[in-house]
Symmetry: D2
């Protein structure tokens, strides 16, 4: 397995069908590039959808679980990392990703965006409008906005060029 960029896909555990479908397409497109998908690993919402999409395109998937039991990962996760650190694992999700794509979600997803930006990680918000103080990170070239999975991939390519 050659070394590949790791794209973190964050987003809610309870989402609309539209968001679920976009997360699935995102996973497909990430795998289509040969990139590794990383998410929170649970069997719900954006975590499930993005991993499912990635495996449909034979990608590699990593799930960083909040609990201690690897078998709780959704069936599309290849490598489950069990932390038993609850939401503290959100920090690991973003630090371990070369680019973070944030699909719509609630407070958990917002904590991941905030932790990513605080730690100078690049975040692409997919149909996720942000306000101050987070919106200000766009000027520092840390925060980007997209409305489709395809746009996310194009932005990832641009960002990764500066790293790989």
């Amino acid at each position: 397995m050659p070394k590949q960029p790791v794209i973190g896909v964050m987003g809610g555990a309870a989402v609309t069908e539209t968001v679920f479908d976009q997360a699935c397409e995102l996973g497909q497109r990430i795998a289509g590039q040969g990139w590794i998908l990383l998410n929170g690993g649970r069997n719900a919402g954006v975590m499930l959808a993005s991993a499912k999409g990635a495996k449909e395109k034979k990608g590699v998937t990593i799930g960083i679980l909040p609990g201690a039991d690897k078998t709780k990962a959704n069936p599309y996760i290849d490598i489950a990392i069990a932390t038993n650190m609850a939401d503290a694992r959100n920090l690991i999700n973003v630090l371990s990703s070369d680019v973070i794509i944030a699909c719509p979600g609630s407070a958990g997803t917002l904590s991941e965006i905030a932790l990513a930006l605080k730690n100078n990680r690049r975040v692409i918000a997919l149909n996720f409008p942000l306000s101050p103080p987070l919106s200000g990170f766009a000027e520092k070239n840390l925060l980007y906005h997209a409305t489709t999975p395809k746009q996310c991939i194009d932005l990832c390519k641009k960002i990764l060029k500066t790293k790989f």
Copy 2:
């Protein structure tokens, strides 16, 4: 030392003089109630100001540090908890507080608000306007807004009545 409510005060490490002064007043008022102040313990911004205020009124102060070295706590911290877990300690800050007051700050403070609300902790935003998805937690009686330290104390009293 009798058991007392713990009020977590979050907020930026780099803040304006106005925010610094309000955080200091907040610390004074928390100590004035006999409550314990908890914050991130560093020697800067809201962490420094709120602990300084609390000690001026002979309160008890706890600092949850991101690093391993207790001597890095600001001089107004009575009890320093050294985590060496960087921003993962933000989760500890909010889980250990009976009420969280969020003074203006940047991404770090926003991560604490988000982690608190996700974990059903009560948050009072002091001059800190919030947007969706966080603003929606007001309807669940988890998020409150205030414009002065005095209002924060009044809200704390109301919230603590349901707990102590």
Copy 3:
């Protein structure tokens, strides 16, 4: 509350009556010195006994909990820190203590001794025989042995002289 040394007392959750009684005496003696007691906060074994002893002598007690719920602390804990990080909180226990006293325990206690020594914290093993690689830390003046709570206090005084 003036700043005081923090003595961490580690040890098993399931212990003999003899160990329970010694942990209780240890808590009494720590409080008798005006020092703060820190432990893992749970309602069992050495955590319960040492906090009970400390409160009998009107000491201050801190409990670093593995879970998210402060109300799970034993009734003798004044200040409960809720981590929700399971055994990862063992690192916080030892980093936050000026001296660590290890009462008999099992794998959890041993992980705390090991994490303490790796991080250059002073450990007093109370009736807890240790083998290599841990026993080697005695030569580095990081590991001490005692057979009574009183000896532990005398060793603490000697160690704290170099810090306070």
Copy 4:
């Protein structure tokens, strides 16, 4: 990439040439079975040696780093997980492994063995003699001993039969 067992290899950052060579052989043999190697990811000792060995046999390697910077992983790590949680990441190392093999090391390695056994994970100690309370876990079929990498692999196969 089909789902594969994850074998965690722990051990010192500063080791003898003999230990380094055994860790390297261990990595080769783990990869030879098609299993995934997981370790602490740093560029030293057993972490470096076992990853190097695994890549020589075209295995997949995961490194759980103590810091925030993925580029600090050794060059033989395919997937670097950045935690920024210092030694608290030791818990993640063992919870994420189906079997843990402990090569000789110091206090850090011992903390991993202890955390693994406390969490009911299977540990194979490779030329690492253990005393009470850890040695008692042999009777619970959680702790095994081996003197060669080949023996470790045979024990892994036996243990994995009960899981995969």
